[in-house]
């Protein structure tokens, strides 16, 4: 049985600078936050405020310029290559803003991919991938390649891939960005169900107000810094005013 940590994710003065000739872009500039286990968190902020950069750092996909990231109270900079790969394969499910599906693989094969690295049997992989794709409404599109799918369908393949390995943390970058109202709601409900039933920690970047309704807290990001942190109640009050 895993230990119960209070915080799923913690960052300490997290920063990422991009030096481009004479200009330094401070994509992320000293973010210190604590995200509780099984919290549903939304990150909002204008384009270029650093949301994707924050995801990449928290997900252990890129090295920060400064600061630390703790997942389950372990500094991810201290993980060896093997542990880091396990973190990416099993603990965290990523839904990328740009989907990042592999073009030569079918929807089904794309979804089985993370299970390859966690050693799931071939038959079981296919079964779970089929089930997950059906849950996101793509049961009829299993053998289509990403190029033969619409943007919203590709996004749902990416969502299925992120969830298929039962991660404990889901990092979602605009997961409903390409979806219509109805499909978007279904995805939000799916994430919320995982959150309440399986206690999955959900961290998502969004401009979708429907997403705010189900979030426990909202981080407002601007120019790489946390501008303010609100609970859902506070947001709701503001809307009424």
């Amino acid at each position: 049985m895993a230990l119960r940590y209070e915080y799923a994710v913690e960052t300490e003065d997290l920063a990422k600078y991009y030096v481009m000739g004479p200009v330094t872009v401070r994509a992320l500039d000293g973010v210190s936050v604590k995200i509780r286990r099984s919290e549903y968190l939304s990150i909002m902020g204008p384009s270029g405020s650093g949301k994707t950069t924050f995801f990449n750092m928290v997900g252990g996909l890129d090295r920060p310029t400064r600061g630390k990231v703790f997942i389950d109270e372990v500094d991810i900079a201290s993980l060896d290559a093997y542990e880091l790969a396990w973190l990416r394969a099993k603990k965290i499910g990523y839904i990328f803003q740009t989907f990042n599906l592999i073009p030569v693989l079918t929807a089904l094969e794309n979804v089985t991919l993370p299970m390859v690295f966690t050693g799931v049997e071939r038959e079981e992989r296919l079964r779970r991938a089929r089930e997950m794709l059906t849950r996101v409404g793509l049961g009829e599109r299993l053998d289509h390649k990403p190029g033969e799918l619409s943007g919203g369908q590709q996004q749902r393949v990416a969502i299925a891939r992120a969830l298929v390995n039962d991660p404990v943390i889901v990092l979602a970058d605009e997961p409903t960005g390409n979806l219509d109202l109805h499909t978007g709601l279904e995805i939000i409900n799916l994430l919320k169900t995982l959150n309440t039933e399986k206690k999955v920690t959900i961290i998502n970047a969004t401009h979708d107000l429907k997403m705010i309704d189900v979030s426990d807290r909202i981080f407002w990001l601007r120019d790489g810094k946390i501008e303010r942190i609100e609970t859902r109640a506070e947001v709701a009050v503001k809307e009424i005013e």
């Binding site: 996909l61 790969a85 394969a89 990042n100 073009p103 030569v104």
Partner: protein, 211 residues
């Protein structure tokens, strides 16, 4: 922590990945393979021709003949390598995004390397085989038609395949089997450098990479 934790990627899995990748990108694989076939057939053709000629007209004891053979082998090897390196480089770099994605999903650097090296091995082997057979056949038939005694030439040429214990390493190169091995080695080396660089990038760096 339970014992079953930790990423897995057995060799059989890597092999089926590589094979699938070649099948799915068959057009691309053909282009890569074509350059291997061309290079190796050119090399084999030159060396086979040189060997036939030297057997028929004196065993290469003269300094001039040896020098000529050396020069021929070096040039052929260079041309062959440049073609293979170029096409392997292309086929790895155009897949940086895929490498980044795989790493995001739990692939380790060694897994990425494995996939690309197995692919290179397969392409090098198949391309080398076709190239060596083609180069040898063309050289032999060509010589048989232009020289006096076709039977003799076929005998000499066929013996090249088993000519392992030659004291002169250059003569060894005229063995088409050695050319196939050479093809595999060059393909592996050519894939190794770009694949190693790509595998070492952080996932986001690989994803951002534009060819």
């Amino acid at each position: 922590m339970s014992g079953e934790e930790g990423v897995k990627f057995p060799l059989s899995e890597a092999f089926s990945f590589s094979l699938e990748s070649i099948k799915r990108r068959f057009g691309r694989a053909l282009v890569t393979m074509a350059s291997i076939v061309l290079g190796i057939s050119f090399l084999t053709f030159l060396l086979t021709t040189g060997r036939i000629v030297s057997v028929l007209y004196g065993e290469g004891s003269g300094v001039a003949v040896q020098f000529y053979q050396l020069w021929m082998a070096v040039i052929a090897l260079l041309i062959c390598s440049v073609g293979i390196v170029n096409s392997m480089l292309m086929s790895v770099t155009e897949r940086y995004k895929e490498i980044g994605t795989m790493k995001c999903l739990g692939a380790m650097n060694t897994h990425v390397l494995e996939i690309f090296l197995i692919e290179a091995l397969l392409l090098g082997l198949i391309g080398g085989l076709i190239g060596a057979v083609a180069g040898w056949t063309i050289a032999t038939v060509w010589q048989a038609f232009t020289q006096a005694s076709p039977v003799n030439i076929f005998m000499v040429s066929a013996s090249l395949w088993t000519e392992f214990n030659a004291s002169n390493p250059l003569l060894l190169l005229a063995n088409p089997l050695i050319d196939i091995a050479l093809s595999v080695v060059i393909a592996l080396l050519a894939a190794l450098a770009p694949a190693y660089i790509a595998a070492k990038l952080s996932p986001t760096e690989a994803l951002r990479y534009e060819v």
